[in-house]
Symmetry: C2
Subunit: 339 residues, 2 copies
Amino acid sequence: MPDNEHKITILDIAEKANVSPSTVSRVLRNSAGVAARKRAAVLHAVAELDYRPNIFAQSLASGQSMTIGVLTQNFGSPFYDGILHGILLGLEGSDYWPLFADGRWQPAVEMRALQLLLDRRVDGLIIIGGQISEETLQQVARKTPLIVAARKTPTLPENCLYVKNYEGGYNATRYLIEMGHRDIAHITASYVNPVAVDDVSQRRKGYEQAILDAGWQPDPRLIVEGNLQQQSGVLAIEMLLARGRSFSAIFAANDQMAFGARLALYRRGIRVPEDVSLIGFDDETFAPYMVPPLTTMRQPDVEIGQAAVAAILDMLQGKKPDLPVFETELVVRESVARR
Amino acid sequence: MPDNEHKITILDIAEKANVSPSTVSRVLRNSAGVAARKRAAVLHAVAELDYRPNIFAQSLASGQSMTIGVLTQNFGSPFYDGILHGILLGLEGSDYWPLFADGRWQPAVEMRALQLLLDRRVDGLIIIGGQISEETLQQVARKTPLIVAARKTPTLPENCLYVKNYEGGYNATRYLIEMGHRDIAHITASYVNPVAVDDVSQRRKGYEQAILDAGWQPDPRLIVEGNLQQQSGVLAIEMLLARGRSFSAIFAANDQMAFGARLALYRRGIRVPEDVSLIGFDDETFAPYMVPPLTTMRQPDVEIGQAAVAAILDMLQGKKPDLPVFETELVVRESVARR
DNA sequence: TTTTATACTGAAAACGTTTTCGTGTAAAGG
DNA sequence: CCTTTACACGAAAACGTTTTCAGTATAAAA
């Protein structure tokens, strides 16, 4: 690099402002009273020299990294992406900076990512989904402010952000029933390579309870399993059709599988919603642009991200965080018809 | 763990292994020869005490942060997300760690994010899209290895990753022509709040040239502008239809607008591809699940991300990076019919 | 006027590494 | 044998802050 300019440090500021380095530091962090005259001189020198503190020295000396670790499973997934967006929003103007890591739904990768985040001495940690053992999580929580979202963690009620998936599944099904449907298929997922997905099984329980409450018996022939990806929605429909059990509506445990299902129905010449109604879960960005626009249960992803950050920030200040419970919301579009 | 509070440092290792701290450091970074016996002792002590180096001290002493800054404009966008994924992939196993920042397509936010990344002393920087002035970019490039992707930067040919958008637009249009279409509409975008989108205007030039090469004149009534979002695709179709100029095919400058267009056509009862053919650009994850599956031009997003990382890593080793030029690829699905 | 708090402030000690400098020792060369 | 040369490796000096400690004024209290 041709540019061998001397990096300006706090010492340069001190010299230029005719004070000691300690005083410069005090001014910069507002950690103690400093005479107005000197404060001005310091500020002036800082501006003049365009001083940029060395973040490593700061962190080393103060023991704080001013970063929040965010461990997610899949940058690409729309739901996770919404949470990330919320985190970004929540962090805005807070002096903290997010450090993202992606576990890619692989236990080994995830553990490594967690370790790396810890090694980078994050001041707080937000974990979205994943499959790290509760024991490990407890251990982490003991040393670092921790929030776990989009995942069930019975042993850490104080650190968990929770969405009412059971109610969501119930309400989605209930809506179909109210629209006159009786034979309602459900596309669920119990293991995704190969981690149990509690959220989704909660939705299934809600589905089954809604059927029971209507006075009917859930029919196992109407339940198929996918893996949350679009393609598995296609397969689910094939399987369902092969079983020969008729149905007039489908509740997919997430939008992505609903999209796949919709495509499979199109290929079979089955119209939506004239022949079969379809409801999803998540309200992904694409849902309003499905043909026809997808009726679905919205999860407040951005809000969850914001709440996670708010909670971490509270914890960092020693306050008890408040952990709202999130409701899902029915978004009526055009993929469900009255029967 | 029975955490006796005492953080173990390199000194503890040194003591336990009966060597000096310097030697421990040498073993850990492999920076100089160490007697096999001592090396083993150090490694043993490290394992025994579960030593974790303090990354701030390392960075402070070595002057390297072992991080790569990534400045993106929009975590949510599928194309950007693909690039991010590629970056993650490329970084795997490289000792470097990505630091993400989101410019949100807002110049002020973007500049602030850049500044923060620089303050964190990233060893390299990848900028995806955005509107930071070329002058600023040059300044940055002088001090830090820099790669700019998905954006035109005439003054920085050595730092730029480039996709053949012109050819992509040309080929998409050419394909429609070959399929027997003559009246081909184009949904483009010239400014997106309010940054000029060079990629998209290249595609438009390709479109116009293909028409010219077929011996016809581009008709301005067949060109509408959106803002790259789905919703603008809907509006574009409304506008197009209102103009009364007939057309049998549409080339949308990105998939998102194609999705919106498809919805608008559905609402008007215009069938795809029987009445109107539709081709997009990007090959987003959702494209194969549109109804009907969308024919589109694929951009190698993941590969771009990987190439960006590879280039940065090269630069960090003082090597001249090789900067491949990326081709787009026609992905034929079912949204274009022969006329 | 003397005492006693009450600001300020600078010197110096962390913080936990990496890296430079020398020194002692063993191998190689004459 | 005596010099070089090469190698290991410990001591100590960075790296750039924050924070503690110990003053010194200065103002308030007595």
